[in-house]
């Protein structure tokens, strides 16, 4: 929790009590197989922070593929496992 200051229209100042849900809480999760920490609250926010555009990727949260239109509404939390994949070069070949 913390205290924020917001100036009002008349010039007065209002002190605002900020609760947990309004501040970045660091979550420890697994991203693409590696431990990862983020303050992002949703998948959409995570992608934004990573600089990844939703088009051209697919996202899996705890083995469930999440549809793109659900990124904004999907919250992430401690212990979650996230996979972000995209298309790469690879034909009929040996890896």
């Amino acid at each position: 929790m913390g205290i924020g200051r917001i100036p009002t229209y008349d010039g007065d100042t209002v002190f605002l009590l900020m609760t947990d849900t309004m501040i970045d809480e660091t979550k420890r999760l697994t991203l693409n197989g590696e431990p990862f920490e983020t303050g992002a609250a949703t998948l959409a926010e995570l992608l934004r922070r990573l600089g990844i555009a939703p088009s051209g990727v697919a996202v899996e949260l705890n083995l469930q593929i999440i549809k793109k239109d659900a990124y904004e509404g999907t919250r992430i939390g401690n212990g979650d496992s996230i996979e972000i994949v995209r298309f790469v070069g690879g034909g009929a070949h040996k890896d």
């Binding site: 990844i52 593929i65 298309f87 070069g89 690879g90 034909g91 009929a92």
Partner: protein, 257 residues
């Protein structure tokens, strides 16, 4: 001759050469080779984004999905579960229901695990995927895959990357005779004559990756394959002469001194 477009599930393609995108030096070379090949269909793999290197390039910035039909594959999948997972992810990442289905049975040969392949084909076809299964040269498997709902059959000519060409033209011919599905010969083509041979046998298309990307001059080889596929297809449609044990003279006897 009449126009000869390749038509699969309502999609129309001018080129009968399909190409992969693996094993190139960089994305630029990949794009140039694909351009030189004249291919319409390009296969890609599905892998993790490099989240820690945001500067890493994106394949689809070099290969325009508006110009080429992108066909994602399940390369590297050895189980049905993996193949299904990758297929479903690729549908979400991309813009279509197309999937080139690989369920690999062995690391050294990269031969398909046909039992797993059949199971995965059935499941994905039911989920509305347009499935292109990479299979072996067994005509019975081709039949089973057709019954399972595959959109085409992709029998291997030889192991992936082996460059051995068509090892069993007789089985391939039988598959071509017995199936009503399009047949795309996939894997094992080594050089232009192999591609031409596949088309002369009657294949509807040929998918080539290593033979182009691994050539000393990939751009030149891409062009060679383009011409080989055109030549082979045209020869097939032109109707070749039969093979005979003995000669038949080309010139008349009449008028000889």
């Amino acid at each position: 001759m009449q126009e000869d477009k390749l038509i699969i599930r309502g999609m129309e393609f001018t080129s009968r050469l399909w190409v992969g995108t693996g094993k190139y030096k960089d994305f630029e070379e990949t794009a140039r080779a694909i351009e030189a090949s004249g291919a319409d269909v390009v296969t890609v793999a599905v892998r993790r984004v490099n989240v820690f290197d945001r500067k890493s390039e994106n394949l689809l910035d070099f290969i325009d999905p508006g110009k080429y039909k992108i066909l994602p594959n399940t390369a590297g999948c050895y189980t049905v579960a993996d193949a299904l997972r990758y297929a479903r992810l690729s549908r979400e990442a991309g813009v279509s229901d197309l999937i080139k289905l690989e369920v690999i049975g062995d690391e050294r040969t990269l031969f398909p695990d046909v039992i797993g392949l059949l199971e995965a084909t059935e499941i994905l076809a039911r989920e509305g995927f347009i499935v292109f299964p990479y299979t072996n040269d067994d005509p019975i498997m081709a039949r089973r895959l057709a019954d399972a709902g595959a959109a085409a059959v992709m029998p291997l000519a030889a192991p992936i990357g082996s460059g051995l060409g068509i090892r069993n033209p007789y089985n391939l011919k039988i598959i071509l005779e017995q199936t009503s599905l399009p047949v795309v010969v996939d894997a094992g083509v080594g050089t232009a004559s192999d591609a031409a041979r596949a088309m002369e046998l009657g294949a509807d298309a040929t998918l080539i990756n290593t033979a182009i990307a691994g050539a000393k001059d990939p751009i030149a080889m891409a062009s060679a394959m383009k011409h080989a596929v055109i030549a082979g297809r045209l020869a097939y449609r032109a109707g070749r002469i039969p093979m005979k044990l003995y000669a038949t003279a080309s010139s008349p006897i009449e008028g000889m001194l």
